[in-house]
Symmetry: C2
Subunit: 305 residues, 2 copies
């Protein structure tokens, strides 16, 4: 069966150049049954190498600093919105973009819609752990003003993701916090802790952030503001190590260019959101992980929570 990977050529701070260069790197690495669908402006298709790709010529672009709702209302022929519509129609199996994260969020809700049981989607990131395993962290960027009840949704989405994508049969869940005791954190985290304690059988309590890379949990829960800070601070540390000339295989895995972007969970469609500052290497990873995400078929498996 053919896997159709949709790519927004105009998403990201360095689009379209970085996206086109990343695409060139990714094309030879994709599986034979994978077809790439490119959403770009006319000029973007002129110097593309041959390969199994199809063009979707658009006339508009949503800039990185536009108001998301307004931009989506006004720019019906933008690369981003056209790609979302194609995903909705089944013309593509997955959509990947390093574009405006707010606009992708709004389009996810308005064009694709949340799955039953989910009030708002969440963005997930997979981190390496010192013990050799991986852990799922969410939300890492969208729900910056999350309500305590949303942590139960994050728990269900994270658990499903750990099961279907990381093949962990019984994921252990933890709430990221400033300490292990249930009284730690702010009001949001105290309330989330007690809701998780009551409502989630796989909940193992708080994970103190000092053990972030060294713990036995599979799914780490946090609000979107805190999760995004954790992601950015991890990047700060990777940059620090690079500047200090430190070469270490584990630290190399903290490089966001290797992540390949973050799936948006809880919506009716496979969407991968990559770092706005993605260079060609990060775009290559984004495209490859979009292919894997479509093949794992997370959305088909998790039709409701």
């Amino acid at each position: 069966m053919m896997t159709k990977v949709g790519i927004d050529l105009r998403g990201g701070d360095y689009a379209p150049t970085a996206v086109l260069e990343g695409l060139e790197k990714a094309l030879p690495l994709l599986q034979n049954q994978t077809q790439v669908h490119l959403f770009g402006l006319e000029e973007d298709f002129q110097n593309l190498p041959s390969g199994n790709w199809q063009s979707h010529r658009c006339s508009e672009v949503i800039g990185m600093h536009e108001h998301p709702v307004k931009a989506l209302q006004l720019k019906g022929d933008s690369t981003l919105l056209r790609a979302f519509k194609a995903l909705k129609m089944g013309a593509i199996d997955v959509l990947a973009s390093a574009g405006h994260s707010g606009a992708m969020m709004v389009a996810s809700m308005q064009v694709l819609g949340p799955i039953p049981g989910i009030s708002r989607p969440a963005v997930v990131s997979v981190f390496p752990k010192l013990n050799g395993g991986k852990m799922v962290v969410l939300d890492v960027g969208i729900n910056v003003d999350a309500k305590p009840e949303q942590f139960l949704e994050f728990a269900k989405l994270g658990k499903a993701y750990a099961q279907s994508v990381l093949n962990i049969a019984e994921p252990r869940l933890a709430l990221l916090n400033t300490g292990e005791e249930s009284s730690k954190g702010n009001l949001l985290y105290q309330k989330a802790h007690s809701l998780l304690r009551e409502g989630e059988s796989n909940f193992g309590g708080n994970l103190e952030a000092r053990y972030l890379y060294d713990n036995d949990f599979d799914v780490i829960l946090c609000d979107g503001f805190t999760g995004n800070m954790v992601l950015k601070q991890t990047e700060a540390f990777y940059n620090l190590a690079t500047k200090r000339g430190i070469s270490d295989p584990f630290i190399d895995r903290l490089n966001y260019e290797e992540y390949g972007g973050s799936p948006i969970l809880g919506i009716n469609g496979n969407v991968i959101l990559a770092h706005g500052a993605s260079g060609p290497e990060a775009i290559k990873s984004m495209i490859l992980s979009a292919e894997s995400f479509a093949l794992a078929n997370f959305v088909q498996q998790i039709t409701s929570i």
Copy 2:
């Protein structure tokens, strides 16, 4: 003039053993004019090495998991409360403890009181930067449910600290956030950003957390929950590097055992709060930084904001 450094021998997860060992390491390194005042139980004073110290024999200890307000009400002869009272009376110039941070907070407010213009104190931490400088980060632990208006207080306290302790004449201030644009972050950070923009002439905008260790700001503002997470995640990095066998002088400076604890700012007294998990090395640093903090005489200089 004599500097009187008060130490709570019963503060911390590993008290009194770790505190006594740390004290032994610190005693020979203190200045001649420094006198140490020890608040402990009778048995703590039995095997102490000779030196310029005075004992304050107490009969009670506030445990690390007690309810702060209740513990302070019930344990009038506890090492912690006795030390706070001594500071209030002027019997000591500075108080250092790795004890219950909540109880220290409550005692700071109830026994010492906030300085005019400050609604609640803040805990400050000094981080090294890749460019060789240092930066002040606050709040890193107390105001976990901060209001936007408190960021203006953090700004004033952080600026005063950078000026009087780090000798930076015109500190540049930034709000820690998920991105540079003023619209970034959650509602709290968006509101804090606009208040700082209006009310603080040295405010330079948001610092995206990916540049945490590599920027040109002197004072980094955040709420106590986020700041504590940043501190803990820095600890996670340090632990990661240690486990990976990485030896680097800059990363060594991220070790909290070197910090020497975090001053509580905005109160009528010099108080240093150290990490609850402090071992002897961290306690030694705490005592030395308490001495420096008393000598810098921050509180005398900043009697109101």
